[in-house]
Subunit: 298 residues, 2 copies
């Protein structure tokens, strides 16, 4: 189990069979700086797709030798996105990464049925991973970026996606807290009903590879003391590895509060497609982007 991103990246550096990330529209300083850093650290190899001339010139500016990189010329953003998806679908790339192109163009290629990278009825979801220095461990939070108002069935898939990442991170049976503002079931707060249903589904063996409890407020999920005050028992309260948020509004605010109020080191992954997808935002830090690549090749 990795206690922080450094441990995770140190592990990846020791892997001899490096994973390959296909970057769609890679001709951008920030994107290539991140790829360069990741390759130096031995996190992953890359196939750079886009305007070859731009890519080569930016690599040179960064002090890299373009001839040491795999570069594939594509005629447009659309072509770059489709080629990245095709490489993944043919098994020639282990993850795909969005470079400098519109998110919609990238997603259209990802969900293009021709390539079959996202099987029908699949829920693709995002997971934020944060260091939790007080306890020297990592916590996963989902979904902070993609699913706006997931219903019960979507939440099962979102939860399973996060559990699969947790397993890769060495958490054998992660403890999942379904967050809500209160610990009691109240149908005026539908997230409490979903949380209760998810907890019971876990008990019934319908959700596997983890232990789920909820509804739990964030304090009870993280602090054994806070849970005790509210007379909440069980193995999840106070020790949650995965926090399932009620909806995007809550997830996005929590994700951003980790960086802007708590100054914690985070990274994110997009899971559910046949390969991990790296979609960072221009406002993410260089460190956050690097962590996203590390989580995706894990």
């Amino acid at each position: 189990m990795y206690r922080n991103f450094k441990e995770l990246m140190d592990h990846l550096a020791t892997v001899t069979d490096k994973k390959t990330v296909a970057v769609a529209a890679a001709g951008d300083e920030e994107v290539l700086k991140c790829a360069s850093e990741a390759r130096k650290l031995g996190v992953a190899n890359f196939v750079l797709l886009g305007n070859g001339e731009t890519i080569r010139s930016v690599l040179q500016q960064l002090g890299e030798d373009p001839d040491q990189w795999t570069i594939e010329e594509t005629a447009s953003d659309k072509a770059a996105a489709e080629r990245a998806v095709a490489l993944a679908s043919e098994g020639k790339a282990d993850a795909i990464m969005k470079g400098l192109l519109p998110t919609a163009t990238f997603l259209r290629a990802l969900f293009n049925k021709e390539y079959g990278l996202v099987p029908p009825k699949t829920v693709v979801s995002q997971v934020t991973v944060t260091e939790y220095p007080g306890e020297d461990r990592m916590i996963l939070i989902t979904d902070c970026a993609i699913n706006v108002a997931p219903e019960y069935a979507d939440k099962v898939n979102i939860l399973n996606n996060a559990v699969s990442l947790a397993h890769r991170m060495g958490m054998e049976c992660p403890k999942v807290a379904c967050l809500a503002p209160v610990e009691v079931i109240n149908d005026k707060m539908p997230e409490t009903v979903d949380a209760a249903a998810l907890a019971k589904a876990s008990q019934r063996g319908q959700i596997r590879g983890c232990v789920v409890d909820g509804p739990l407020a964030l304090d009870n999920a993280l602090s054994e003391e806070a849970a005790k005050v509210k007379n909440i028992s069980g193995e999840v309260a106070g020790h949650a590895d995965i926090l399932l948020v009620p909806d995007l509004a809550a997830g996005n605010i929590l994700d951003k509060s980790l960086r802007y109020f708590a100054h914690l080191s985070t990274g994110s992954a997009v899971i559910g497609a046949r390969v991990p997808v790296i979609m960072t935002s221009r406002s993410d830090t260089a460190e956050g982007k690097l962590h996203a690549i590390a989580l995706s090749v894990l």
Copy 2:
């Protein structure tokens, strides 16, 4: 303008005409410890309502002389709550505080029309105040505890309640950010539509005493740099004094992340009734409870 809770409490200590807080069901160690601390610091005076014998005995345990306190015997939790509300409604108390009694009992007395403490159509809302050490200032967040799924008109009232507290805290024209996961208006995320409407209502002069902008994601509300990356201008982005959250799920998670991830010093106030209401939870820290009293007597 207070930069932190210490400055706020230092100011209250200099006020000669101390405010009086009526405490319903005060016979509890944690409640009285907090009242004792607040009185020592010169933050407020108290009227303690409840079982006189219990109150006196707990005060003695805390090293206080019960004769130095105003204690009023009441026969039940209900009677204590009603007496606190009556004192406030008669102008004999400037704020009321929930002691050790069920929240429902306390709220029933508060909303009892007989006392008129909550005029009809009033929206009572909660505000969390947090220190923001990076910029040496304080930020208000609303509503993290009371209104579950506020609609547009409720949000106007919630916003006005927070603005009135901000004015008391010395912010002449607070900058209000209406939070959402994205900066674009998207009717699949109704909070973005409400945020846009609130921003325009502010521009039209329908909301006064503040400047409102939105939708803004938390990063753009707090960081000028993050706002620039997204090409967001205006005086609110990067400098928000008040964060209006979309709903209780988001507000509660943000509030708790301030304490459990960011370890920031916070306090809260309940505003909208004719006097401020202090409702702290048993899982709040002693410091948080003291800050709540300070904010309410301000």
